[in-house]
């Protein structure tokens, strides 16, 4: 059971609204987003429920949810939302806040997805561009699932789908610098 009324001002709602630029209070729970969302069946709390939880100020429950990790940012929901709420932005705001406060869902699936993004970003930091083979390899190593997609590898490699090397950017330094400044900006807020 959740007890309401004792936590005072709903600062979580305010934080999500500020960060996303949307107003979660606009949501009137019609559920159009849920049936629009291609991955709502995988989410523990579908978008509509997430919105209500934000309204109720259930910060920890929202942070620990996997919904915002499953959100594909396909924008189908916001395109159909009768109240024109930018739901992907709300999901993203919750995710960023969860990362900032280091309070993240620790299920294997979420961990894997998060790992993937981290590897991807480190690839770009290193090479300036995506190095697909290396990334897939590293992902498999780091998620301890060496043989994932291995049946596809010979075909893909043979057909030249995935190149064996990548030409790093001439100005790779520029990218590193960008990463550093961006990180500082992130902290400044």
């Amino acid at each position: 059971m959740i007890t309401l009324g004792s936590q005072g001002k709903n600062t979580f709602l305010e934080a999500v609204n500020t960060k996303s630029g949307a107003n979660v209070l606009d949501c009137y729970q019609c559920g159009k987003c849920v049936s629009t969302c291609p991955v709502s069946q995988y989410m523990d709390f579908p978008p509509r429920v997430m919105m209500q939880m934000i309204k109720l100020g259930l910060k920890n429950e929202c942070y620990m949810a996997n919904a915002h990790w499953y959100c594909l940012t396909c924008s189908a929901c916001s395109g159909r939302c009768p109240r024109e709420i930018d739901i992907p932005a709300v999901m993203e705001a919750v995710r960023h806040l969860a990362i900032e406060e280091n309070h993240v869902n620790d299920s294997t699936k979420v961990k894997e997805m998060r790992k993937f993004h981290e590897i991807f970003l480190s690839m770009i930091k290193k090479y300036g561009r995506n190095y697909e083979l290396r990334m897939m390899a590293e992902f498999n190593i780091r998620t301890r699932n060496l043989f994932k997609d291995m049946h596809l590898a010979p075909k893909a490699l043979l057909k030249g789908k995935i190149p064996l090397g990548v030409k790093p950017l001439k100005s790779a330094k520029a990218i590193k610098r960008m990463y550093e400044i961006a990180e500082k900006l992130e902290k400044k807020k």
Binding site: Y42, L72, E112, M113, I124, R129, F139, K161, P163, I181
Partner: protein, 314 residues
């Protein structure tokens, strides 16, 4: 001769090389000269905005700033994902000069962001700037007989206020281009459903489920092939197709073409330049339909009239 700044995107040298090379063939015929952005970088794709806000703007911002140094006013982007990141960044920066100033500090050595370059996907460029008439005029080998389901994915027409192109629910630009090439576009209701996109590697289960639904609907619509304008969609629908078939126990055998491949084909380029061997699902079966005389479809029953309906009822 038109000129266009070109952003190929990382996958152009990898998974979607056939998109890149056929795009170049097609634009040669259409007399468009491409100018690459020197030393472009990755747009950050989904990962950047999933994890952080600033980097998700900074990476595309660098490309935009570099593109502004070239003389063209439009930048064409092959990859739908790159296109969306770039366009989102551009729209947000133009709307919010303060944010633009802040993000600009990350790429201050490259230059100052001005917002002078328009960002378009290659599909949008072909539809709006080249036009159906011009495309039609270049067709030497019409694709008559080929029935295609045009799949747009999430990124090309959504969100509407960012992309400002075609309908977010039932777009028709690619359908019209395919029809201009002589092919028949089927009535396909999953045009803009998501294929699973960035979960390609990290959450294959989702991709197989979503892409599976799209394949099923494409088959249902009677299409011989799916046409796309996005490398991620292509790889999800093509590369994962055997797995999906295994999982669902259904044989789809639907090749997934880039629209530029079909354009090049219709423009008369020899088949060996179109990189069909790169496809996982063989294309020959679908292409065999070209030139076949399609039987005229049975006239759909007329809409109800008082009398007809009455006889049905009684």
């Amino acid at each position: 001769m038109k000129k266009l700044t070109y952003f190929p995107g990382c996958s152009a040298h990898g998974t979607s090389e056939e998109f890149d090379s056929t795009l170049k063939l097609v634009l040669k015929t259409l007399e468009v000269e491409l100018e690459d952005i020197p030393d472009w970088n990755c747009c950050g794709a989904t990962s950047a905005h999933v994890m952080t806000e600033n980097l998700a703007y900074a990476l595309p911002m660098r490309n935009l700033v570099l593109a502004e140094k070239l003389s063209n006013t439009t930048m064409g982007i092959a990859c739908a994902s790159c296109y969306q990141r770039m366009k989102v960044t551009k729209v947000h920066m133009d709307e919010n000069p303060e944010l633009a100033k802040r993000i600009n500090t990350t790429v201050v050595e490259e230059g100052t962001y001005k917002g002078s370059v328009d960002v378009k996907s290659m599909l949008q460029y072909a539809y709006e700037d080249i036009g159906l008439e011009t495309i039609k005029s270049k067709v030497t080998k019409p694709l008559t007989g080929l029935k295609v389901a045009c799949y747009y994915g999430c990124l090309l027409t959504r969100p509407k206020d960012i992309t400002q192109f075609d309908s977010p629910e039932y777009p028709v630009s690619m359908d019209q281009i395919c029809e201009a090439l002589g092919a028949t576009a089927t009535e396909f209701d999953y045009k803009t459903e998501c294929c699973g996109a960035s979960f390609s590697i990290s959450n294959t289960e989702v991709v197989e489920n979503l892409s599976g639904q799209i394949l099923a609907m494409a088959k249902e619509s009677g299409a011989h092939a799916i046409v796309v304008a996005c490398p991620l969609c292509q790889s999800n629908l093509d590369m994962r197709q055997p797995d999906i078939e295994k999982k669902q126990g259904i044989t789809y055998d639907i090749p997934v073409f880039y629209f530029t491949q079909l354009m090049a084909l219709a423009f008369g380029y020899p088949i060996d330049q179109l990189k069909f061997p790169k496809h996982i699902v063989p294309v020959e079966g679908a292409l065999a339909n070209i030139g076949k005389v399609v039987p005229v479809p049975e006239k759909v029953k007329k809409p109800i009239k008082a009398v007809e309906a009455e006889s049905e009822v009684k």
